[in-house]
Amino acid sequence: VLKLLHTADWHLGRRFPTFPEEGQKKLSRARMDVVARILEVARRNAVHAILCAGDIFDEPNPQEDFWQGLVKILRNHSSTQAPLFLVPGNHDPLTSDSVWAPNHPFRAQLPGWVHVVDRDDFTYELSPSAVLYARPCRSKAGESDLAMALPARQPGDERLRIGCVHGNTFDIEGYQTNFPIARDAGVARGLDYLAIGDTHSFRDVTSNLPVPTVYPGAPEPATFDDNNAGHVAVVAMFRRGLRPRVDAERVAFWRWRDVRCRDMNDLRDLLSTADLDRCVLRLRFDMAVSLAENSAVGKILRDLRGTEAAHGRAGILVEDRSGLRLRAGTAADFSQNLPPVLKDTVDRLDLLIASAPLEAEKEKARRALSHLFEMLATREATGGGA
């Protein structure tokens, strides 16, 4: 049995500008950390080769930290390691000034068991009875089908033939330039397994064909839309003609959760979610709350988010409070012992909420009321007394 570990779309160096700064760091670091886990899965499964089907880096010229980081991880896993094949993808195409260029220091520092697919006729004999064909992307966009460009099986060739390219199998209008791959390319080129990369979800796109054409997906999800991401494919190839077995193995650290709270219970339930600290949580609201509840929401969000002094309960939190509305008539939430001037202030804001012609004005008044409530609550909580 020939065993392979098939992965792709590491996107080392990817930025996450929509996240808070700390979250950006965590997500960026996770992309590097997962590489070690992938190598560990490879070692545990005693695979004969590791195929990385493109987009190893998020761009052709990543910052030095990223390629140095990768070199360091690879060098730390040099013992008893199967050959690793790195295929340039459309995010990190092979160009003369890319990280894949022969004169780039990255290449010089790679251990000997790491092979960069830097030729169009790349061929590697994994064993006398198995051969790997691969072809790199040379630009960020292209019309050519790299899988169909792999050599066809010659008569009398009985070896297991594995292809590895980057591109997509979706024939979507307007996306033909993203290195399209024909779904029957594996069959057409006489391959036994076609390892591809591009989309971030694990998927066997040819389950009804004898030759598996598999997206392993990104080992760490990168967006909330990356469903079924976070895996590598472990492939067992038995003999020619018998469909290889492909298993997804999870390697991701982060789980991405998109949560919409419709009442306070939803929000409170969230706190009891297991492994919350390993969640990238996007929290949206569709609820109206009283001032007191609004204050409680703020407190829960602080708990989830963390402060400078304490870690948040959620690994990474993205908040969208646009759907969180203050209920009308919330002025009753204030203490009756307020000084007259503050009572007057509350009454004035309450009147504005009731009488302002524009919703924006009402919202401003509600927010002002909330600020006042929050100040009083904080003062009370810190022992100031109202």
Partner: protein
Amino acid sequence: MQLLRLQINNFAAIGQAEIEFGPGLNVLHGPNDLGKSTLAEAIRMALLLPHGSSHSQPYVAWSGGDPVVELTFASEPQQIWRVRKHFGKKGSSRLHFSKNGRDFEEAEQARGVDGKLREILRWGIPEPGGAGAAKGLPESFLATVLLSTQENVSGILDGTLQGDLAGSGKERIAAALQAIAQDPLFLELLRKTQEKRDAAYTEKGAPKTATGSPFREASDRVKEAREEKERWQQIVGDSEGTERRLRELTAGREPRQEKLAAAVAHHASLDLLARQTADRLLALDQVRTAENEVERIRRLISDVEAGNAKLAEMAVHSQNSDAAVESAKQHHAQALARLAQAQDAARVERADPAFHNTQLLLSKNEAGQALQKVEQNIHAILEAKKLAGDAAQKESEFRAEERSAADAAKTLAKAKAQEKEAGDQLVHCELLKKILDFQIAARQVKAAQDEVARRTQLETRLKAASREQDRLIAQRSAIIVPPDRSLNAMRRLAQDLGSARGALNVGFVATVVPQRSIEFTLRGDGGDITSFTTAQPRELAANASLELTIPGVVSVRVQGGSHEAQAEVAALESRWELEVEPHLKTAGVTSLEALDAKIEEARQLDASIKHQENEVRSLQQQISPLADAPQKLRSATEFADALEHTLGNVDFAALGAEVATLEPGPAAKLARNQQELSAQAQEARSKTTRADQDLAIGKERTRLLRASLDSANSSRDLALEPFPQGIDAALHAANAQRDTLRGQLDGITTTLASLEKQLAERSQQHETAQREAQREVGQAAATLDSAQKQRESAIARRALEEGGLKELTKQRDVADLGSAEDKLRRAKDQYERLPVPGRVVTEEEVKAAKSEVVRLQLEIDSLDKEIHRAQGALEQVGGAVARERLSEAEETLLQATRREQEIETDSEAWKLLLEQMKEADTAQASNLGLALGPAIADGFTKLTRERYQNVKLDAQLQTEGVVLAGAVRETSRLSLGTRDQLSTIFRLSLAEYLRVAVVLDDQLVQSDDARMQWFQNLLYEKAKLFQIIVLTCRPGDYLPSTSSIPANSPIHFDFKDHPVRAIDLGRALQRH
């Protein structure tokens, strides 16, 4: 507000007074009627009354002269005002301002003084002359409270802010009370809210946009995100443009490809039909040829068989003829015998003439037979000649066909040569097009190189210009000169100074006449010091100044000019030092001329910097469009290299030169050439095909004609075999022989006729007998002759038939009917197998179809080149990666925008909260009674030892009453002393809140000792916070100790342990 100094002249009973106030409690004491209340009035008038008001009339000095009051006061620290009013119709007002109390400058004068004062005081008094302004001394609640006279207690307790003509008094009180009367919780929240608001907004309420402000931070993020989004939008736009172009090209190629396929199919079908037609024609020709051959052979066989049958029949006929001849001969012999008998009988009668006649007849017979043979011979000769003619005709046809085939071969060779030539020219043309493309690419490379070089040159110039600009700016920044316009003022000052100094330069001579020998030093006009020791008179001359010093005794300084002139010089020199010297020093020059030069230098530098800025901007504008020049160069070079690689090792120079000679334009010319050459090549190919077909047909015809010729030759040779001497000679001989024989026959016939005539003449007698015999002989002879003729004819026919048959047999023997039939069958089979064309196709149709194919192929080739270029361009764009980035950038922008809106709403909410808190606070504080009441009540309660629990003030500070045993009692029901005390507490409380001086004129005179003591303590305490001026005739009620004032103390005496100043009015003012 604090009063500092009061000077009075000619004010009612006071001739002159000068008082310096202390900061705390000022006790101005003096006996009754000294003028204390007049002083208080003087203060009120200085602050409030316009100098021309008739209200000042009562204060005209008793001794005459207009009253003059000068009051100095501080409205704030370092805000010191000095108001001087000369009351009366010809009076005046002047207001001066100073920060240090020494150096004053005029701030206002005349009518402007009172307006300014009221603005400073904010006591609720409108500007003078305004609508509703009252005549006389203006009044307001605060003016009453702070400066009221001793009899105006009711004015205080009954007064209200309601009556003020201007709102400034109430505003001032409200602001003061607001600051001190707020709830601590409210204050804390207000402070926090204010901080939040101030973090986002300026004092005027505009959003802060400086670095570090939340708005700036958010808008920076939005701007950054928007720029990032726009950048990716641009890239995606380019990318999609390229992709669209490629899609359009690919889409455009498909219909053309379909058209081409259709055209190729159409051409192929036409070509096939044409070939089918040609093939069937050829096959049909072959069938016909084979049919002819078979028919010929069959005819031969049939002819031979018929010939043999005819010959056999002729043999029978010959035998019959022979028998007939024999029978006829017998009959003839018998008849002859009978005739002979008759003739013998006649001969006997006429000699033997019958002998000659018989011989002649025999001769005639023989000659006739010989003639018949000769004619048969001639017939055979003519037949042979005909066969020879046929053979010659066949050979002629063969030769003609052979020539035709040769011509077709030549045509084919020529067409092939033309086709090859056209093909070669097409290849050459294609090469030239590539060369042209390469030249264009090379020109683009050159242009791109030029652009890069220009950019480099411009950047170098830009750097140099920037360096020069920096240098100039550094040079300019080192020069600090005043504005150009100030130089004129300096020049005027220098001129004034020169003129003023000139006024000092009067020139004088001093004569020193020592009484004894004495040492003295002299210095004239500030020159060198000269020492003398002499007893002689000495004359000293100087222009402006002279200094004479007798050491240890005296120094005499003599200066020219009047005192005013000297003062003017000193003032101008002082101005020079203040206004000019600093500029000279800063500029590092010593004279105005040098400063002027410096300013000029600075102006020139400014101009140079401006020029340099324009230069830099111009260079940047020039560089901007060249930003992508390296990219263009790289693309152009790669494209040119790719073309060069495609061209391989060709002679670029020669081909380039050839391209250059193409007129009118290489591209158009090449396209036209290519089109023409394609048409030529197509035509040549058509010709070749046609010639090829012609040649094949010609060869086949030649081969068939050859066979026919061979057959004809064979027949001819067989026919000529019997005539070795030649056919013409044989014919000639035969004709001669026939002519001879015909001559002989004619002679014999003539002889016979003559003989017969003779016989007739001589044998008339025997004619009857003989006639019968003759008739019989004749009949027999005729029969014999007929039989013989028939036999001869049969023999001749048989011979002829035999000859023909022999020839036919020969021909039949050489002919192979089976082979011919086989060939015919094959030809027919082949013909049958050939498909029947659907329709007849003309050559023009095929040609037109071929041209369409070529045209479409050219179009597709051109399109393929475009597609290839677009594919190359596609590799340079962002593709899906750019779309992903754009999507991220849009998300980032959305978040940043949302964040910005969130910050804006949040900040607006803080701002709104602050506004509402302040409004609430103001609303609360505007009820001044509530704010001020507790402080007054507190003092009053303590004073009355809690007899009264509270003092009720309304919102406008009108005293509603005091609370006694839970009930509110009107103040009018209080005793005069208590009302006085209450009003004093009221005044002190308000003055404290406002931090202003308060004047108490003979207050508390009806207070008992205990309350007086209580007040004294209160005044000492409050005097630490604000200024209190007490005018009293009982200093003991206010001063800590009157005995501690030394007898020889100055007018003002400050106590050490208390903030109290005692002012002895008895000495401070002089009455008339």
